[in-house]
């Protein structure tokens, strides 16, 4: 089976995609919740979420450019 399909790579792709795709989308959504809360703690949390999203984007660009 491994000759036909690189299962190890496939699993890595799936896990990384779920973390980066669904995870970062969720983090961005949490940032919107924080910003709309009107509270300082909410805005701080939102800022942290956006930092996580920005880090994910930078990591993505790094991965793409080092090919």
């Amino acid at each position: 089976m491994s000759d036909w399909l690189d299962l190890a790579a496939l699993w890595r792709v799936l896990v990384a995609s779920l973390v980066a795709g669904a995870g970062l989308a969720a983090a961005f959504s949490l940032a919107l919740v924080g910003f709309s809360s009107g509270r300082v703690i909410g805005r701080v949390g939102a800022g942290l979420c956006l930092v996580v999203v920005a880090a994910g984007v930078v990591l993505g660009l790094y991965v793409m450019l080092r090919k």
Binding site: D6, L14, A16, A22, L24, F28, L30, S36, G60
Partner: protein, 381 residues
């Protein structure tokens, strides 16, 4: 490898033409959802995508020296086979564009080369197992992976922001969508323009214009980047319409989740060495965005039509590639290649004229969905 000045010029022009169709066929991957949700005006979206494709072409320096690497025997790839393969890929790109079907340009090119190789060098020159493991299995897995990621992403996005005021949510996700769509555009430029650069460089080496270790000439990089971004800017509105309006009705949060999913799957697959088609990933993400939202409707008939096209891509492009090689070989010499090139150009022009009978453009790309693009029952687009 067979090489002369006429063949070299024809291969370069055909490669740049393929690059152009690659651009306008794949604009939809990055920008269809942004256009559908109104995050970007249509012309702005294709302009941004074109600019990022252009930049992307310069960012990745690793150019594939050959095409269909590992799938056909290297010794079997002559310039005429490359030319015929490009014609096969071009034909499939144009036909699927006419019908508004998102379809992988890479698979079309591989199909064209495989078909030309089969008829030029026989079945032993094509590695069946590699074809299955590198093209067919990933073709099934790409949309499935994207569907899973986008479904979960869309579900989370709606659940988390259910109490966020509509205006904040709409504005926020529009900004996020522009960012994630830009990433997909940039990735497209780094991946797809390289294919053309590789083909032209290969042709130049075979014709002794440059040496094996000379690297990619600057004019090849500029020509490839310009060609793909010009195609992107013209916008494959027919494919954009299917991806943005046909598969499901997309709201801003769905568009954001779909583009995030696409970017994540493309980057992950690139990083872990499991190449997946950008087109199939993006189409899967749009379907996932439809599945992840409660009560949203996925038009499975449109998805099925797309799935059938994906199944047919390889054999159809292979058939045209084989036909092109046989035609060039039968007539023989430069005349053979020029005749096939001329016929291909005429047929492409004819298809363009037919498409003008029911044009899809920036003005009507977001009209209410009335049926598949290019079909008789479609009226408004």
């Amino acid at each position: 490898m067979d090489a002369n000045a006429v063949l070299l010029v024809v291969v370069v022009i055909t490669a740049l033409s393929f690059d152009f169709t690659n651009g306008f066929h794949d604009t939809a991957n990055a920008m269809a959802t942004s256009i559908a949700t109104g995050a970007l005006r249509p012309k702005i979206a294709v302009g941004l995508s074109a600019a990022l494709n252009f930049v992307g072409a310069f960012l990745s320096l690793k150019v594939a020296a050959t095409i269909a690497t590992g799938i056909v025997e290297t010794k079997a790839i002559t310039l005429t086979v490359v030319f015929a393969g490009l014609i096969g890929g071009l034909a499939w790109n144009l036909l699927t564009w006419y019908f508004g079907i998102p379809s992988s340009s890479s698979h079309a090119l591989i199909g064209g080369v495989v078909g030309a190789t089969l008829i030029a060098a026989g079945t032993s020159a094509v590695k069946g197992q590699e074809l299955v493991s590198h093209v067919l299995i990933p073709a099934v897995l790409a949309p499935l992976a994207a569907i899973v990621v986008a479904t979960l992403g869309t579900y989370l996005v709606y659940v988390i922001t259910r109490k966020v005021p509509d205006d904040v949510r709409g504005r926020g996700f529009k900004l996020g969508q522009i960012g994630s769509a830009s990433l997909v555009s940039l990735a497209h430029g780094t991946n797809d323009a390289q294919k053309t650069m590789g083909i032209i460089t290969l042709a130049l080496i075979a014709s002794n214009v440059i040496t094996q270790d000379a690297g990619v000439p600057t004019w090849v990089i500029i020509a490839s980047a310009t060609s793909i971004s010009l195609g992107t800017y013209l916008g494959g509105w027919r494919v954009i319409r299917t991806l943005g309006k046909g598969l499901t009705e997309i709201e801003t949060p769905q568009g954001f989740a779909a583009e995030s999913s696409s970017a994540a799957v493309i980057f992950s697959s690139s990083h872990f060495g499991f190449p997946l088609s950008t087109t199939q990933v993006c189409a899967g993400s749009v379907i996932g965005a439809g599945l992840g939202k409660r009560l949203a409707e996925v038009r499975w008939s449109v998805a099925a039509r797309m799935g059938v096209a994906w199944l047919v891509t390889l054999p159809a492009a292979a058939f045209v590639g084989a036909l092109a090689w046989a035609g060039a070989d039968r007539i023989g010499g430069d005349l053979g290649v020029l005749t096939v090139f001329g016929v291909a150009a005429l047929l492409s022009g004819a298809l363009y004229l037919v498409s003008r009978r029911a044009p899809v453009n920036a003005g009507n790309v977001n009209d209410e969905w009335t049926g598949p693009v290019g079909m008789a029952r479609e009226r408004s687009a």
